[in-house]
């Protein structure tokens, strides 16, 4: 009796996996998502506060997925993601406030975001060159210093408001735009991870010396991965600035980087589904716990400690939601499991 219900349950899961793995399903999710976002944006049937939270969720997904490429898939430790976010935020804001004509803001907004991303990517490249010159944990130290440097520089440039910050941005970050950039970052990083280049990234985490000996140009792989990661941090920064309509250097300090790290490790390393989950849960939890006031800052770390004790790899560490796994990888793994089961049955 229980046996038959077990099989029907696993058959159901199987069918769910087959369904969610199809291109059609992904297309439906995309269309539903974008339709919902546009509907919310035009008809305003969702509370403005909730809309802002949704926007933050999207931005945090971009930050988490992009940092996971470095800290999760590649196994390096970067703690300066907020610094790249700051570069994107300031460049995009300077463009919309001071450079672009006021009447073409809506039209040129994607360009401003893109420019912010490119600037962050360039800075990421400059940080990556010395950091990856030698093997070891230099990246953590260099990115830690980088975060501080960015903050100090911004605090000392009067043209962008110094420590007072920069304002005057219009509220250009709409839900559809956030959805677009989030989907783009997830799509790019997912495809990167499952490409041959992605195997190179994984091999660095597994055993960097062996990777070198297998003719993988590890330095090049690391630099490219870091530039991609920085690019999306910059994109998130631009979106953040135009959602809040005010930025100052303190917003992008080490605490912000820590927030992103928490989302990565909460969701689970080397998992895109996990990153999305981590960003969603953390962002929403922070809002739900807001009434607790200062106690929030006691409760959140406590939850993290508990998570690290009971699920040290995060919610989805090293696992992936079916939707993000390419069909061929899924089929090969399934075949292998089936074969193993048959062999087990035969020996038993």
């Amino acid at each position: 009796m229980s046996n038959s219900s077990d099989t029907s349950y696993s058959a159901l899961i199987e069918r769910w996996h087959m369904l969610t793995g199809t291109r059609l399903f992904r297309a439906v999710v995309m269309i539903a998502g974008i339709a919902f976002c546009i509907a919310v944006d035009t008809f305003d049937f969702v509370d403005l506060y909730l809309q802002l939270i949704l926007i933050y969720v999207g931005i945090n997904i971009i930050l988490t997925v992009s940092l996971n490429l470095i800290n999760g898939y590649m196994g390096e430790f970067s703690v300066g993601h907020a610094g790249f976010m700051a570069v994107g935020a300031y460049i995009a804001s300077i463009l919309t406030v001071h450079v672009f004509p006021p009447n073409a803001q809506n039209l040129l907004f994607p360009l401003a975001i893109l420019a912010g991303g490119m600037a962050a990517a360039l800075v990421g490249f400059l940080v990556a060159i010395p950091s990856f010159k030698t093997r070891g944990d230099y990246l953590a130290i260099v990115t830690l210093a980088f975060g501080m440097i960015v903050k100090s520089i911004l605090e000392n440039i009067d043209a962008v408001g110094g420590p007072r910050g920069l304002l005057g941005m219009e509220k250009l970050t709409t839900l559809p735009w956030v959805f677009f950039w989030t989907a783009l970052s997830v799509w790019v990083i997912r495809n990167l991870v499952y490409s041959n280049f992605g195997r190179g990234v994984l091999s660095i985490r597994e055993d960097e010396i062996a990777s070198d000996l297998m003719s993988v140009n590890t330095r090049q792989v690391k630099i490219i991965a870091f530039v991609v990661s920085s690019f999306f941090a910059g994109i998130a920064g631009g979106l953040f600035a135009h959602a809040l309509q005010f930025i100052n250097p303190r917003m992008f300090d080490i605490l912000k980087s820590t927030d992103i790290l928490i989302m990565v490790y909460l969701g689970g390393i080397a998992s895109i589904g996990g990153s999305i989950l981590g960003a969603v849960i953390y962002t929403i939890l922070l809002e739900i716990l807001r009434p607790l006031g200062i106690w929030r800052m006691v409760l959140m770390p406590l939850m993290l400690v508990l998570l690290m004790i009971y699920r040290p790899r995060g919610i989805m560490g090293m696992k992936e939601i079916r939707m993000f796994v390419p069909l061929r990888d899924f089929v090969t793994e399934k075949l292998w499991r089936q074969k193993k089961k048959e062999a087990g049955d035969a020996s038993a």
Binding site: R199, S203, E206, A210, L213, S215, V216, T332, E333, W336
Partner: protein, 239 residues
């Protein structure tokens, strides 16, 4: 020295870790198509020599491959130049599948048709790897991992292989298999520099050998000569 043309030349190689001189003024050569073995006790500097050739550690002296100076060339470029290194402990990527492990080794190759043939070649040499091609590298047994490590080295298409302790941690039957495979690979045209603690087996298959003691070459000769040498017998072959 055999009459074959030399392909790898190491001269006055010195390697030190901080203040400890691991390798002290070593010179040797490997001819094309040869199996040359370096034997010696733990800490004699054997692995350090291979790591220096592969560009993993700094050294002084000169290492040339096919006349090309290898100093200051990055490790991945040395593989492209023609030297594949099977490291001690095999260096398998445990979370990647067998297929992915093999594919990674073709990172710098552009000759797609030849890569396809090399896959077939590796799979015919190691049918076990074909059976397990979708399995994660970390799930393989020790012997299978060693086969995968050899397979990866072959997939780089490098004409020369550096093998670091391939028999380590394997059962006696598997050790015999592994040495047979090394001979097969050599017969297929690969030049091999073999570092081993199993002096008996490695001198048996090698054309020439060098005996290392505390960073110096103390004896050199053909495999047969060294096997018959009383000093080698006493120290490495168990009397």
């Amino acid at each position: 020295m055999t009459s074959s043309e030399k392909i790898l030349a190491v001269s006055h190689l010195k390697i030190s870790y901080d203040s400890i001189q691991a390798v002290d003024d070593i010179s040797f050569e490997v001819g094309k198509g040869e199996i040359v073995t370096l034997i010696g006790a733990n800490g004699a500097g054997k692995s350090s020599i291979l790591r220096a050739i592969s560009g993993l550690i700094p050294y002084t002296g000169r290492i040339t491959y096919s006349g090309k100076d290898l100093n200051n060339i990055a490790a991945d470029q040395i593989v492209a130049a023609g030297i594949a290194h099977v490291p001690e402990g095999r260096g398998i990527f445990g979370n990647l599948t067998v297929m992915e492990n093999l594919k990674l080794a073709t990172w710098q190759r552009k000759d797609k048709d030849q890569i396809k043939k090399d896959f077939e070649n590796v799979f015919s040499l190691f049918p076990r790897l074909k059976e397990r091609r979708n399995q994660q590298g970390g799930m393989l047994s020790g012997g299978e991992q060693q086969m995968l490590a050899f397979g990866r080295a072959l997939m780089t298409d490098a004409p020369m292989l550096l093998l670091d302790e391939p028999s380590m941690g394997l059962s006696p039957v598997l050790v015999r298999d592994i040495f047979k495979i090394i001979q097969d690979i050599n017969q297929a045209g690969k030049t091999i520099l073999l570092v081993e603690q199993n002096a008996n087996m490695s001198l048996h298959i090698a054309q020439r050998g060098y005996v290392l003691e505390t960073g110096r070459i103390v004896l050199a000769g053909t495999g047969k000569e060294l096997k018959g040498n009383p000093r080698v017998k006493e120290a490495y072959l168990g009397g």
